[in-house]
């Protein structure tokens, strides 16, 4: 594969060129929280401060709240109206962990019934990856097969090589996008070598490790170990931080808003951490906190791999960084009993 490169100071020009025809999203903190937001057309300061966003890039495809359709009641009955989001977009700067997360949850949204909202946004978006240079101490991506400075889950991958970015064209979609950019040059062998060194160096900076060998089997074995799960769940406060902000959590809720004779159906993020999530009128299979905690852990590391052959975690570390009580998934998984407990 031939590689290209761009000087960091030309990133503004590159984005500017793209933003003439496409909507460009970049890491932003304008709204008071770091997230992927529409580029303002000049600021490339994120290249300095950006480590990873608090709101994962999944929000570009599965927003926290999205309109599904609107309805109106006339004399001849109900009329439904879709307003599909056909915006052609670039998401610039997605980290390899978050890019992998998209590939993981693609399975859910394309499986048997295709989800039109998610799939159209995925199709209309070019993902541009940006290598990590400074992983958090809560990151453990390397344990899940994600490399912090390389990714094949994007259309173009930018790797930081000091004053420049080395660019790998992963897909044709990415290649096309780059074709017209005059600020992009051909990379040299020396650049490739630099990138290679950088990739290895950043990988080595990820110090938190998680042993995922046999994790699915171990969890299966301790599924009914109530004592273990109660102990593990004790300090959890049942908020939705770790799930809503997880790049591989995709659960959603659907609800209607009505005003007079018209209204809107929305879907929004939901979390298995909430008791109401599985609440039925007469009973709730996961009313107890430990059952909800178990569901969260087992879904990611046992059930999802059973169904899709991949663990639903990319080691982005958000759940560790943002948890109100420092409930640390890596510690929890390390504490899963290796043997099946004696039956009580």
């Amino acid at each position: 594969m031939t590689t290209k490169k761009i000087s960091k100071k030309d990133i503004g020009k590159l984005l500017e060129g793209w933003s003439r025809e496409l909507t460009v999203f970049v890491p932003s903190k304008d709204k008071g929280v770091t997230e992927m937001a529409k580029w303002d057309g000049k600021d490339t300061g994120f290249l300095e401060w950006y480590r990873n966003t608090v709101i994962p890039a999944k929000s570009s495809f599965l927003p926290a709240m999205e309109k599904m359709f609107s309805f109106q009641k006339n004399n001849d009955g109900y009329h439904l109206e879709l307003s599909p989001d056909q915006q052609k977009r670039i998401v610039f700067g997605i980290r390899p962990c978050d890019a992998r997360a998209m590939v993981i949850i693609d399975k859910v949204f394309t499986d048997s019934y295709e989800d039109p909202y998610y799939v159209s946004k995925r199709k209309n978006t070019v993902l541009i990856g940006l290598s990590c240079t400074n992983p958090y101490d809560s990151c453990f991506c390397t344990s899940l097969g994600v490399k912090p400075a390389e990714s094949a889950d994007v259309d173009l991958m930018f790797t930081d090589i000091e004053d420049e970015f080395l660019i790998e064209e992963i897909t044709d979609k990415g290649k096309e996008l780059l074709a017209a950019a005059s600020v992009v040059k051909k990379a040299t062998k020396a650049d490739d070598a630099k990138a290679k060194t950088e990739k290895a160096a950043v990988s080595a900076m990820v110090i938190r490790k998680l042993d995922i060998e046999d994790i699915s089997e171990k969890l299966q074995a301790c599924f009914t170990d109530k004592d273990y799960w109660e102990k593990v769940a004790a300090k959890c406060v049942s908020c939705g931080v770790c799930t809503l902000l997880c790049p591989t959590c995709y659960c959603f809720d659907i609800c209607d808003e009505l005003s007079k004779k018209q209204g809107t159906r929305y879907r929004s993020w939901d979390s298995c951490g909430f008791s109401i999530y599985t609440q039925m009128p007469m009973e709730n299979p996961r009313e107890a906190k430990w059952r909800r905690v178990r569901q969260k852990v087992c879904h990611k590391y046992e059930f999802y791999p059973m169904n899709s052959e991949v663990i639903a975690c990319t080691g982005c570390g958000r759940c560790i960084r943002l948890c109100p009580v420092n409930w640390d998934i890596t510690q929890i998984l390390a504490s899963v009993p290796a043997e099946q407990p004696a039956k009580k």
């Binding site: 709204k31 929280v33 939705g240 931080v241 929004s268």
Partner: protein, 316 residues
Amino acid sequence: MEQELRKEARKLLEEGKVDYIIGFAPGSLKFSTTPLITEEKEEIASLVINSFVVNNLAKFLTEVPGRIGIVAKGCDSRSIVSLIQDNRIARENVIIIGVPCSGLIDIVKVEKLVGKDRDEIDDIALQGEKVAVTVGGGKTELPTKEALFDNCLSCEFPTPQEYDILIGEPINATCNRELGQEKMKELEGMTPERRWEFWKHQFSRCIMCYACRQVCPACFCEQCFVEETEPQWVLPVPKWQDNLIFQVIRNIHVAGRCTDCGECERVCPVNIPLRSLTKKMYGLVNEMLNYKAGTDKNAPPLMTAYEHEEAKDLIR
């Protein structure tokens, strides 16, 4: 202090005076701690007390069964008293291990001041009037009042109000009530329109994770009004209108219980300045009704009591 704390906690478990100890253990991130809820003596060795014991452990009192020994800072002890007032817990089932607190370090403030993230900082040490921060070998000294949580600055009760065992010497409140009120004062100085715009902007990024409610020891409803479906008071989608209503009603619901401990603001993943709400409500309750949450375990809960003459200028 930690040694004494561990000794006392171990004794409580050994003597069978409590079934569980709730305290703090070292966290898995730098400058962090994590709640420790245990019935095992071996785990007592990991109990810690330092400038990062941020959680309000009173939250767990209503969940953990049996008799409980709980480590409590001044602010936590008030939440415990408030739970006793509301009959959520029985005083005799709780052994309060009081820990006088000279203030907790707000890691977010330190991060901003030194321009580095938590994991990039090597050391933070609270040394009286100064906080020494080491980053990459270089040392920066910050005035303590710039590095503590806003609430610690205006803390009225650094020593627990209610305790069975006190670890260390009581600390007198020396902090100034006026400190840490800047954000609220700034808001009060705005026109109503600007204030509303401010809150609209803040709540437009709420993702409805309910961390604020879940960590709050005063939020103990079996079913929160936002989860009611008939009538459905607010939509279960993160629209700013509904988020704002949720937060206003939450503040009214916890009025007289909220000790303004600030946990809600600390845990908010999208940085909504919730303390500027709780602080206001705390102040209103104090000024209008002369009531301070969690200072008297025998007082009736605020909303169940009344005086014959009050709020006269508001309702005529």
